[in-house]
Subunit: 152 residues, 2 copies
DNA sequence: TACGGATCATTGAAAAAGTCAACGATTGTT
DNA sequence: AACAATCGTTGACTTTTTCAATGATCCGTA
């Protein structure tokens, strides 16, 4: 019932040179984060990826499946599965592309937006937990650096 | 032959709220990084993970397989496969644990250290490429923040 | 206009990775 | 000595990833 304590034990091996390898640090933080996020999202029948798709569907940006695949670093066929799932549950729907009739635009339903808002709240709590050792400033800094590394 | 140009096109979807989601940013940077890293390591018959194991085997820390699994966020059975592979190629060997005879300590061979040094050079070049949009300071900052987020 | 090559979503199959329970050997505890 | 727990290992099982092929549609060019 009380807040779960998170063990932040610095492992012996972190001393190794590889403990500063950006690739490894990203992999590790991503791994532990995914675990927490998926746990938090399970209440809503979502996972990290379906949540990402749902979020973008709710964004008003009217993404095509191809854009989703590129942005989320997924194979187009994986996007098909994710959208299929969300669509069957009535959270998003496929609409015909406006300029391109091959493309399908993913938009959220009212129910999708409802679920999304609730899930987002849970996720933010989750993220706060994961980055608890960072100050508010550092948190923002990390976000900014990641974005800059990705998109300049 | 010339240096490969890397397209750093800011995608339309980055504008969405999720474009600041730490989980997604980590996933994306990790995904693109892994791709580059694995490409760079392929010259030496290594991948990100086997390189990590090799690095720790070369570190002098004498990690056990259990420690490797914990540190690399892997299932113990996955470590078995990775070590099997490296051992068959003569890059590492299993030694009996000193205090605990159940445990096996992974140590590098001379050949393992040779390969590791060459691979590391390639990887560092690779990492520099991936984080090219960051200044030297920002690069160090990112590393520090990731480490702090992980281990406080 | 009509052709050819490219791109979109989709399908299905094959390969790779991840998960999990069970095992013998060994350890630490009672 | 007995017992539960931990280590590495194996094998089975599920999930994820990867990839080629397809029909529909788009775009550029003749």
């Amino acid at each position: 019932m009380g807040p779960q304590s998170i063990e932040v034990e610095t492992p012996r091996l972190a001393a190794a040179k590889i403990g500063s390898d950006v690739g490894l640090l990203l992999a590790k933080l991503h791994a532990t984060g995914s675990l927490l996020n998926n746990k938090a999202l399970a209440d809503y029948g979502l996972r990290e990826r379906s949540f990402s798709v749902l979020t973008l569907a709710c964004s008003g940006l009217e993404p095509t499946q191809r854009e989703l695949a590129d942005f989320l670093s997924l194979d187009p066929s994986q996007v098909v599965s994710l959208v299929d799932d969300l669509e069957h549950r009535g959270l998003v729907k496929r609409a015909q592309g406006k300029q391109d009739r091959r493309a399908k635009i993913i938009v959220s339903t009212a129910e999708g937006r409802r679920i999304h808002n609730k899930a987002r709240a849970g996720l933010e709590e989750c993220e706060r937990t994961q980055l608890a050792t960072l100050t508010e400033d550092e948190n923002a800094q990390l976000r900014a650096l990641l974005k800059k590394a990705l998109w300049g």
